[in-house]
């Protein structure tokens, strides 16, 4: 009787779960167990992929508004499931009468074109083809725009070969489009594999690269391009694996959002962690995961990458070389090197790059983040920023006139850009040094700079927050003890987040709301932040941690130049002076020796085009010189 009841309850639960909009988003946090069996891993991966496709295919059908019509993503999902083919064909014809403009229209359309090539009616397929003749497509102005644009143009030109220039919006023949696209994509991969990724470690923009690459590896006719797509996915996901704890992305980001910089889980990167590693919940709505899922069954995550994400025991340091967004003017270099450091422990991570401008809008330079049992709704992070906002900074990276860009960026869905309390963005007046789990961030802001202040983020989820007489601010986040030393006077203000409001076809709209977290704001031009993190398990008590921090030798001056001399909790003697190379145990840091990747899991020489991915006995080498992937199981 008991077992019957259990069975009935279990079935009822399953039915309830499957009827919910997003089982994995709304359900419990996944178990953090390593799936040893490859077949089971694959089956679970495909199950997650199917969850996305099934959810998307039913999105409009579930909508209580009967006027809602199928969109491209939903049509594509239905086609994958071979549902309502005639309805999909009709709707495609309707949609293609008003085609969109630019890469964000192009790649979804490529998706439906390829998935529907044996399913859609000839008329529907012809309508897609016709749209690619008549609708002029803007290429955009960022690296992710180009990746989407050229992958889409490449695939469509391959799908419709030998067609003349007057049959494409470009005015170029299929072969000319193909050659140009191929050349760009290879050049982009060359950059990524020699001097580092541009929009590195992105919380959201990972989708803008992963989706084109899954499409390329799935549908390119040219085996070389298929392989390049697959290798690029390995490269991207290896980076994701090494920068996550329990699926949540850590450390600095070239691009981040106002919300995902504090609620670190709540971003597209988590969808990819969930899909690939199964170790965190996906973001609501799966975002670009809807497009990725369409072709995701064509990619198999290498076990070595899976294990880097899910099967780590020891703390480690990973140093990577990345690059800034291209600087068109007002800079001595076009692509500035970004020296990224990540210290990953079991319960927390500390990550940073050296400061300065990586991207003018959405960069996140450094943070300490901690692990929590379930990251949804949690702000597991601590960091400080100078809220730099300047037209000149924009003009360095964008080919725009000086007067409109600042307002335009805020209007384009980055609402905090020109706000003094912002928490997203880098500054030319910030210099950061990291040694293991110690951060020293120094600021030397010239007179007259807009927003002359430092903002430090303090999470609502911290406990035992203590402003100590020593000048240290102590707190505990999860199983991590934190010590934050502001080098100048400060006050507290509430953290006001950004909540999207319905656009109704118009511009982006937001409202601000008190998240419960708070911001330490320090209105001093010469300034700095020191943060030391440690695992709670290292100390008998929080008091003992505080005592250990108070005992660290620490001296600093702000005038004429911010300088910190201190001993870290790990026993390193460091001297950081703004504008000079940091000194560790008497040795100046030499960034010129920085490799493309250096750590226990990812290793590559600068300029090598070759990444070695290792975990335990597993090794995979991605060699873009020879376009080979080699796997080795090393002897124990």
């Amino acid at each position: 009787m008991k077992s019957q009841l259990f069975l009935i309850l279990s079935l009822a639960t399953l039915i309830a779960i499957s009827a919910r909009a997003q089982p994995s988003y709304e359900g419990p946090h996944p178990e953090l167990t390593v799936v040893e069996d490859a077949a089971q891993r694959r089956a679970e991966y495909l199950q997650r992929v199917n969850e996305v496709i099934t959810w998307r295919a039913g999105l409009i059908d579930r909508d209580p508004d009967p006027t809602k019509k199928l969109d491209i993503a939903t049509i594509s999902a239905k086609l994958v499931l071979k549902q309502d083919i005639d309805q999909c064909s009709e709707r495609v014809i309707e949609l293609m009468k008003e085609p969109g403009t630019g890469p964000f229209w192009m790649f979804p359309t490529v998706g439906v074109a390829f998935i529907g090539r044996d399913l859609l009616s000839p008329e529907a397929q012809a309508s897609i083809r016709e749209a690619w003749r008549t609708a002029f497509q803007l290429r955009g102005d960022t690296e992710n725009h180009f990746a989407m644009y050229y992958t889409a143009l490449y695939l469509m030109s391959e799908l419709y070969p030998n067609e003349p220039g007057n049959s494409w919006y470009t005015g170029k023949s299929s072969e000319e489009n193909l050659a140009e696209s191929r050349e760009y994509l290879i050049d982009w991969m060359d950059l990524m594999t020699t001097v580092g990724q541009g929009e590195f470690n992105p919380t959201h923009y990972i989708g803008e690269y992963a989706v084109p690459m899954i499409f390329l590896t799935s549908w390119a006719k040219d085996p070389e391009m298929r392989l390049r797509g697959k290798m690029a996915l390995d490269w991207i996901f290896a980076g994701l694996a090494a920068n996550t704890i329990n699926g949540v992305l850590r450390g600095p980001n070239a691009r981040v959002g106002d919300n995902s910089v504090v609620e670190r889980w709540n971003c597209l990167a988590s969808v990819f962690s969930w899909l690939n590693f199964g170790n965190c919940p996906p973001q609501k709505g799966y975002s670009f995961g809807n497009y990725y899922a369409l072709a995701a069954s064509n990619y198999e995550l290498p076990e070595v990458i899976y294990r880097i994400a899910t099967d780590r025991k020891d703390s480690f340091v990973q140093r990577d070389l990345k690059r800034s967004r291209h600087r068109w003017r007002y800079s001595d270099v076009g692509k500035a090197p970004i020296y990224k450091t990540t210290y990953m422990a079991k319960d927390y991570a500390v990550g940073s790059y050296q400061g300065g401008m990586a991207d003018p809008i959405q960069t996140h330079v450094w943070d300490v983040t901690w692990a929590v049992p379930d990251p949804r709704g949690i702000h597991p992070t601590m960091f400080s920023v100078h809220p730099y906002s300047a037209s000149k900074g924009m003009q360095m990276y964008f080919n725009v006139r000086p007067d409109t860009m600042v307002k335009a960026v805020a209007a384009e869905g980055k609402p905090s850009y020109d706000e003094p309390d912002k928490l997203v963005g880098c500054s030319p007046y910030e210099q950061v040094f990291q040694d293991l789990d110690t951060i020293v961030a120094l600021y030397d802001i010239p007179q007259g700079v807009r927003f002359p202040q430092i903002n430090g983020f303090f999470s609502k989820d911290l406990v035992n927050l203590t402003e100590d007489e020593s000048g240290w601010i102590f707190a505990q986040g999860g199983e991590t003890y934190l010590a934050y030393y502001p080098l100048a006077d400060y006050e507290w203000i509430p953290h006001l987040g950004y909540r999207n409001l319905p656009r109704n076809g118009g511009p982006y709209r937001f409202e601000r709301y008190d998240t419960g977290s708070k911001v330490l704001t320090s209105p001093h031009l010469k300034n700095g932040t020191i943060v030391q993190a440690a695992a709670a398990s290292e100390f008998k008590s929080f008091s003992e941690f505080q005592a250990a921090i108070r005992a660290l030798p620490l001296e600093f001056t702000l005038d004429p130049t911010p300088t910190v001399t201190m001993r870290t909790l790990r026993g390193k003697n460091i001297v950081c002076t703004y504008g000079e190379a940091p000194i560790v145990d008497g040795e100046p840091l030499d960034y010129t020796k920085w490799k493309l990747f250096e750590g226990p899991y990812l290793n590559a020489e600068k300029g090598s085009r070759k990444l070695t991915i290792t975990h335990g006995r597993l090794k995979r080498i991605l060699d873009f010189n020879t376009l080979t992937v080699s796997d080795t199981v090393m002897a124990e």
């Binding site: 002029f136 955009g140 005015g171 006139r401």
Partner: protein
């Protein structure tokens, strides 16, 4: 679908109607054809659906601006082949484009490695040669845009961002380029360049006088306005023009050698009626804020145009003392071109 289409059609009709003004003089007797490139894209971001029509427009005999060619708000500049005005080159977000049939069909002439060119100029004395100023420097096509060569000898490795490029109409291969670090001159078809005016920030516009080809004017982002009376070899600052904020462009009045106009987002419209010695603010009758994107002067009538950013195009028949709205609501005009009708 029908429900959606009707409002869209109405919107298009409304846009077309409202972008044409009843206040226009008749232009059938004009000696010049007038063209503009305009962004009509308020609130647009990459990824949005474009519901407006922007790009190239030609002024009809009734004075109304008629769109033609691609719906592309990013056309920053255009240049015409003097032998055949149906051959048009544009500098746009996707690169340099060209039409051979007056805008019916287009081809993107550049590849992935040139993006967002800001200016394009056909050499009137060697019209197969086209000069392109772009964020990465300067490219030259010797064959009507089929091939492009980066010709940057003499330009700095860093500091060659090029905003404006203008060919001297008196000599083939003599070109002035406005870059991030100043004005550069070539006299040998871009085989080599030399700096003739250093600046700290970008040079935004360079124009040659229609009255005296030796006279050139330039405006900059932070160094004010300058005049050259020796074909661009030496430059003298115009001290009456403010320089704290960017000046976007400058225009000569072909009907009156003493009249000049400057467009500026900060200063609005500035005019001079004594060849640049003194300047007057001509914004009283413009909407506030008078954020002017570009000015242009009709060479037949001396009518002054001012594009107020994402508000509308305005026109003045008394050189800025009074203004009337002249259509193109919510637009920003990137360039004005007036072509002699008898040329083509």
């Amino acid at each position: 679908m029908t429900k959606l289409k009707i409002p869209l059609i109405l919107l298009v009709i409304l846009t077309a109607t409202t972008s044409c003004v009843s206040n226009q003089p008749k232009h059938s007797a004009s000696k010049h054809d007038a063209y503009i490139s305009a962004a009509v894209n308020k609130s647009y971001v990459i990824g949005s659906r474009i519901v407006t029509v922007g790009g190239l427009h030609q002024r009809g005999d009734d004075g109304k601006w008629q769109h033609f060619g691609i719906n592309d708000h990013s056309i920053f500049a255009m240049s015409f082949d003097p032998r055949d005005h149906n051959i048009i080159y544009t500098a746009a977000l996707n690169g340099a484009l060209r039409t051979l049939d007056g805008g019916k069909s287009w081809r993107i002439m550049t590849s992935w490695d040139i993006t967002e060119p800001k200016d394009i100029c056909v050499d009137p004395n060697a019209p197969d040669t086209v000069y392109l100023g772009h964020p990465g420097g300067i490219a030259v096509s010797p064959d009507q845009g089929f091939t492009w060569l980066r010709k940057e000898k003499g330009l700095p490795d860093r500091g060659k961002y090029t905003q404006t490029i203008e060919v001297d109409r008196t000599q083939a291969g003599r070109v002035l380029a406005g870059c991030e670090t100043g004005i550069y001159l070539t006299e040998n078809g871009a085989e080599s360049w030399r700096r003739v005016l250093p600046t700290e920030e970008t040079v935004n516009d360079i124009q040659q006088s229609p009255h005296d080809p030796n006279v050139w004017l330039t405006v900059t982002q932070s160094a004010g306005a300058w005049i050259s009376r020796d074909r661009g070899l030496t430059w003298k600052n115009l001290p009456e023009v403010p320089s704290a904020s960017a000046l976007y462009n400058i225009a000569f009045d072909a009907t009156n050698p003493q009249r000049l106009a400057i467009g500026s987002y900060t200063y609005g419209v500035l005019t001079s009626e004594d060849g640049g010695d003194t300047w007057a603010d001509r914004n009283d009758d413009l909407p506030d804020p008078h954020q002017v994107w570009r000015v242009g002067i009709d060479p037949d009538t001396g009518r002054l145009y001012a594009s107020v950013y994402q508000v509308a195009l305005f026109a003045s028949d008394d050189f800025g003392q009074t203004w009337q709205e002249a259509g193109l609501e919510e637009s920003a005009v990137h360039s004005f071109v007036f072509l002699p009708k008898n040329q083509k």
